[in-house]
C-alpha cells in the first residue's frame, strides 16, 4: 500500500459513487448483462492498477468511461467481430418472471440487438450522451475526440439504430 494508500481510498470511494452508471454503460456497450459486468470489473481493475494515470481535477466517471470503451474495442477486435453472439434474451435476467420482467427483458434484448449493429466508438458516444446525459463537450473529453466527432458519431449511431429497430418491427415481433 505505502504512501499511495490515502489516494487509493479516495479513488475507491469515487469509483463506488459512479459504479451504477458505469455498469449501465458497460451493459449497453457489451450487449448483455454478463459481459457487461465483466467489462465493468475489468474497467475498475484497470483503474485501480493505473490510478497514477488519472488526472486530478478531471472527472473520474469520464476516465472510467474511456477505459471501458477502449477495453470493449479491444475485446471486439480480439473476437474479430462487433457486438455479441450471446443470446440476449437469456443473458438479461433483470427482474422476476412476472409480466413486466418479461417485457423488460424482451425490450432490453431488442435494443441491445440494435446497439450491436453500431460500431463501438459510435455506440460509446451515443450512450454517453443519450443514456448517461453527458454534454457533447463532456463526452468529447471522456472519449478524447473533438466535439464535432461526437456529434457525427451520434448521428451515425442513430441512423444505424433506426435501421435496426425499424427492421425488427417493434418488440412484439
Amino acid at each position: 500500500m505505502g504512501s499511495g494508500h490515502a489516494g487509493a481510498a479516495i479513488m475507491k470511494d469515487a469509483i463506488l459513487a459512479v459504479l451504477p452508471r458505469l455498469r449501465r454503460f458497460c451493459h449497453a456497450m457489451a450487449g448483455n448483462a454478463a459481459d457487461g459486468d465483466d467489462l465493468m470489473q475489468s474497467t475498475v481493475e484497470r483503474a485501480l492498477a493505473h490510478g497514477d494515470q488519472f488526472q486530478r481535477g478531471t472527472r473520474i466517471d469520464s476516465w472510467l468511461y474511456r477505459i471501458a470503451q477502449n477495453l470493449q474495442i479491444d475485446l471486439a477486435r480480439a473476437k474479430g467481430r462487433r457486438g455479441t453472439a450471446v443470446d440476449v434474451e437469456d443473458a438479461f435476467g433483470l427482474i422476476g418472471d412476472d409480466g413486466e420482467g418479461v417485457f423488460r427483458r424482451a425490450e432490453l434484448a431488442a435494443v441491445s440487438r440494435a446497439l450491436a449493429d453500431v460500431p463501438e466508438d459510435q455506440r460509446a458516444a451515443f450512450l454517453l450522451v443519450v443514456v448517461e446525459g453527458l454534454s457533447y463537450r463532456e463526452a468529447a473529453d471522456a472519449l478524447d475526440v473533438p466535439v464535432g466527432t461526437i456529434m457525427s458519431r451520434i448521428a451515425r449511431a442513430r441512423g444505424r439504430i433506426d435501421k435496426a429497430l425499424g427492421r425488427a418491427g417493434g418488440i412484439m415481433q
Binding site: R21, A28, D37, V111, G133, Y136, M151, I154, R158
Partner: protein, 230 residues
C-alpha cells in the same frame, strides 16, 4: 448517407444548439415533413433505449466488486431485510454506506452554475452523488433526495466526515439533523464514519416521515424547476 442535416438533427435532439441555431432548425422542421418525421423517430428510438437501460443502474451491485472497493472494514448490511430504506443505512459502515446510497440514486453531470457557492447552493443545484465545490474550497456531496410527509423536499448530504439532512421551505434550506463522524483520521475525504451517525439521521428521517428516495430523473426535474413540484 450521413449528411450535415443528420449532424444537425443530432445536435438538436441533444440540446447542443444555441438559441439561433435552434430557432433556424425548428423553422426547418416545421416546413420539411421528412426531416420532422426523422426527428420524431430518432427521438422515440432514444427514449426506448434510455427506458430499457434505466433499471440497470438501480440493480444491486456485485458483492465481490463492492468488497474490492470498500475502504473501511465494516460489516455489510443484510441485502434483503424489510426495514425502511433509511434504517437499512443505520448500521456501522464505511464504503458500504456509499454503496447502498449509490444503488438508490444515479449520477448526473454537475450543472455548471454560478452564484454564491455555499451549502444552500449545493443543495439547490447539485445532483445527488455529484460533489459540489464550494466557494470556501470545501466539498459538499448531496447524497439523496426525499420528500417529507409535510410535502417539503429534503436532501441528505455529506461534507468530509459530516452527514446532514436539510429540508427546503419557501426557497430556503434548513439543516434538520447533522452527525459528525468519528472515523480514523487520514481516511479518504469521501469516507463516512461510524454507525451512530447514520442512526442519528435515521431518527430524523423517521420524524420527517420521509418517502423513499426520489429517482434521478425526478430529482433532476425538481432541480431544473427550482424545486417546484407543480
Amino acid at each position: 448517407m450521413i449528411s450535415d442535416d443528420e449532424d444537425k438533427l443530432a445536435a438538436f435532439l441533444d440540446g447542443q444548439m444555441d438559441d439561433a441555431e435552434m430557432a433556424a432548425f425548428e423553422a426547418r422542421l416545421a416546413s420539411e415533413p421528412a426531416l420532422a418525421a426523422r426527428a420524431e423517430t430518432w427521438q422515440a428510438n432514444d427514449r426506448r433505449i434510455v427506458d430499457a437501460f434505466a433499471p440497470v443502474a438501480d440493480m444491486p451491485l456485485p458483492a465481490d466488486l463492492l468488497a474490492k472497493l470498500k475502504t473501511t472494514p465494516s460489516p455489510v448490511p443484510a441485502a434483503n431485510d424489510n426495514a425502511p430504506w433509511w434504517r437499512r443505512h443505520a448500521v456501522p459502515l464505511g464504503g458500504a454506506l456509499a454503496a447502498s446510497l449509490v444503488a438508490l440514486a444515479m449520477l448526473a453531470p454537475n450543472p455548471d452554475a454560478g452564484g454564491q457557492k455555499d451549502l444552500a447552493f449545493a443543495l439547490e443545484t447539485g445532483r445527488s452523488l455529484t460533489p459540489v465545490q464550494l466557494a470556501d474550497g470545501s466539498t459538499i456531496t448531496p447524497t439523496m433526495t426525499v420528500r417529507a410527509a409535510d410535502g417539503r423536499f429534503c436532501r441528505e448530504f455529506q461534507s468530509g466526515e459530516t452527514l446532514g439532512l436539510a429540508c427546503r421551505k419557501d426557497g430556503r434550506w434548513s439543516v434538520e439533523a447533522q452527525a459528525k463522524g468519528s472515523g480514523p483520521a487520514g481516511q479518504g475525504d469521501l469516507a463516512v464514519a461510524g454507525g451512530a451517525d447514520a442512526s442519528a439521521l435515521a431518527d430524523a428521517y423517521a420524524k420527517l416521515g420521509a418517502s423513499d428516495p426520489l429517482g434521478a430523473a425526478e430529482e433532476g426535474q425538481l432541480i431544473s424547476k427550482k424545486w417546484s413540484a407543480e
